[in-house]
């Protein structure tokens, strides 16, 4: 038997793992949407979702209050990333911080490294002041575009930290090598620091030098934690379902892989009692082997599933007509 997984028709995302990757993504999306709907239903019934305590977010009021007492500004940095989910999440948290700062009439500084982020941040912060009825306290220069060069941005923000002697700093978003420069400079200025990065390589630096750090998906839970809005709490519950699904798949994969290794090594068809196979998966296709060969642990289905391979044979199977009789929509 020899077949190609939808050769010539399906794309790379379907060739090796079949529908698995796409189906899993759709399933994860459904988990989130279902829980959002469920959370709204619960909210209407007067029920609330329990969220465990996150120390870093509990300390926002403390940090802003400290800045107010000292009469120094609060600094917020959404990282180097462009306008995307990470930055939008960071701005959501910053809008909550700004709301607290606006009530205390505390100055804020929000430094951006991306022009698109700068414009969105400016609108977001202005909206916060207007929604609180404190539009007169909004300072347009509080949201600044510093530079889109990594170390020029690092130097600019460090200068602001030291010159303005900021009392509280919030570093949330995509940070890279500049993370430690910010955190250590703010430490020198004696600022209370709350940080979070979606870059796992930078999280240890923040842990070493900041007072509070949101690790991993705590960053995405922050807006739900601060607002308790049903859409966000439902989304967070959906994320937990997704994580359970991933954990289940990891455990299942480990069991199947272990079983395969055990079978190949110790089982009736194992190394000591050699098991031969006459079919193999080569470049996304199951093909008959010219001669049976001993089975290996890499022949397991789970190994095939999680090790996608490009299929050079597909290149040969596709012959698109470049000059068909009816060239509808074509021209010289």
């Amino acid at each position: 038997m020899s077949y190609y997984l939808a050769a010539g028709t399906w794309a790379n995302q379907y060739t090796d793992t079949g529908w698995f990757a796409v189906a899993l993504t759709v399933l994860l999306c459904l988990f989130v949407l279902y829980n959002i709907a469920l959370s709204h239903k619960k909210f209407k019934e007067g029920k609330t979702t329990f969220i465990r305590r996150i120390a870093g977010l509990n300390s926002i009021d403390e940090a802003v209050g400290r800045a107010t007492e000292m009469g120094r500004p609060v600094l917020m940095v959404p990282g180097l990333g462009g306008l995307g989910p990470v930055v939008v999440q960071a701005l959501t948290i910053f809008s909550s911080i700004t709301r607290t700062a606006a009530k205390f009439a505390n100055p804020i500084i929000l430094c951006c490294a991306d022009a698109a982020v700068y414009t969105v941040a400016q609108e977001t912060i202005r909206d916060v002041y207007q929604s609180e009825g404190l539009a007169d306290r909004y300072d347009p220069s509080s949201v600044r575009f510093v530079s889109d060069r990594q170390f020029a941005f690092a130097a600019g923000v460090s200068g602001i930290i030291l010159r303005d002697q900021v009392a509280a700093t919030f570093f949330m978003g995509d940070f890279y090598a500049e993370s430690l420069i910010f955190a250590e400079t703010a430490n020198m200025a004696g600022a209370i620091q709350i940080a979070s990065s979606t870059q796992t390589t930078q999280t240890p630096f923040f842990i070493a030098s900041c007072d509070y750090v949101l690790i991993g998906d705590e960053f995405y839970a922050a807006s739900a934690y601060l607002s308790r809005e049903p859409t966000l709490t439902g989304s967070m519950t959906g994320q937990d379902w997704c994580k359970m699904m991933v954990i289940f798949l990891v455990v299942l994969g480990a069991i199947i892989n272990t079983q395969e290794i055990a079978r190949v090594t110790f089982g009736p068809g194992g190394i000591f009692n050699q098991h031969y196979i006459n079919q193999d998966k080569q470049h996304s296709a199951i093909v008959n082997l010219p001669a049976a060969r001993p089975a290996k642990s890499s022949d397991s289905p789970i190994e095939h599933l999680f090790n996608p391979q490009d299929d050079p044979s597909l290149q040969k199977t596709i012959v698109r007509d470049q000059n068909p009789p009816d060239r509808k929509g074509a021209s010289d």
């Binding site: 939008v88 979606t198 030098s209 991993g216 998906d217 698109r320 470049q322």
Partner: protein, 297 residues
């Protein structure tokens, strides 16, 4: 022979001109409608635009894309036609994003100027820095464009990338970019080494059992890259063996570090990455469907 899809058209054809005109008219109408309608309707328009543009990418992910497509290929069936159109739409979307980004960069530069000009006007104590910044911006702009113009207008056969053909503009641009900007970048980067040291000094203190384990692990990783310690230790443990089994080799700093990194560090980082990835998926879903009340202010 080029196959034209929804995003392109034959040169000077009515179809191409119609598409160009529509490309101006539709965004202009959208922009005008957004400005003139009530906030509620504006929200609906923005949500619809989000849903449509995001939908292209979602559809692009779900719809099977053509494999090994060549520039002159023509789709064989409806499935491939849609796949071709979707894959062609992604560069168009990227172009639109670049154009919008260019305008936004102008706003960013305006922000920089407004803050620093204000500082100079008010005679702020940091105004010398602001003056230096504005002069630097204009110098870089002037010499950058002069260098570009002279390179463009260079006589045939004269390679302006070679220093022997340089004029004052090229030397000035090289000095400003490679001589000043790049060096300052490198200086900022090198500061990280000292910051790591000071952060490590504060963080690695034995205050609890967890901190002790962390310190011990860090020490092993540090010793791994210190040849003066790692090599004699490797020689020492190499002598430990049961018969032909080089049992002691498991205890070299290299092998212990590899075990720690592969067994504990990688798995922990992957767990965090899963959480971050799922969080980004949920956030993107909320944004796409405009159901995020927080960000919709």
């Amino acid at each position: 022979m080029i196959w034209h899809n929804f995003w392109t058209g034959p040169n000077n054809s009515f179809l191409l001109w119609l598409r160009i005109i529509l490309a101006f008219v539709i965004p202009s109408a959208l922009f005008y409608s957004i400005r003139s309608v009530s906030p509620f309707t504006r929200k609906i328009i923005v949500a619809a635009a989000f849903f449509f543009t995001g939908g292209v990418y979602v559809f692009y992910f779900l719809w099977p894309q053509p494999i090994h497509r060549q520039p002159l290929d023509i789709p064989r069936n409806l499935s491939e036609s849609i796949g071709f159109m979707l894959s062609d739409s992604v560069p168009v979307a990227a172009d639109v994003a670049n154009i919008v980004g260019a305008f936004l960069l102008g706003l960013g530069v305006y922000s920089v100027f407004s803050i620093h000009v204000d500082k100079i006007r008010k005679g702020h104590r940091d105004s010398p820095f602001s003056i230096a910044l504005i002069i630097s911006v204009f110098l870089m702009l002037f010499f950058g464009y002069l260098n570009y113009y002279q390179t463009l207008k260079a006589p045939p056969g004269v390679n302006m990338t070679l220093p022997q053909n340089w004029h004052f503009a090229q030397y000035a641009r090289d000095f400003l970019f490679n001589g000043v900007l790049q060096q300052m970048d490198a200086a900022m980067f090198s500061l990280i080494a000292f910051y790591i040291l000071s952060a490590a000094y504060r963080a690695f203190r034995i205050r609890s059992i967890e901190a002790t384990v962390l310190l011990a692990t860090a020490l092993i990783l540090v010793l791994k890259v210190m040849g003066v310690v790692a090599d004699p230790w490797s020689q020492l443990v190499h002598g430990l063996h049961f018969g032909n089994n080089q049992f002691g080799d498991n205890f070299t700093f290299l092998n212990i570090s590899n075990f720690l990194q592969n067994s504990f560090q990688s798995s922990s980082i992957r767990a965090v990455d899963f959480g971050v990835g799922i969080g980004a998926l949920a956030m993107a879903l909320r944004l796409w469907l405009s159901i995020d009340k927080q960000t919709g202010t």
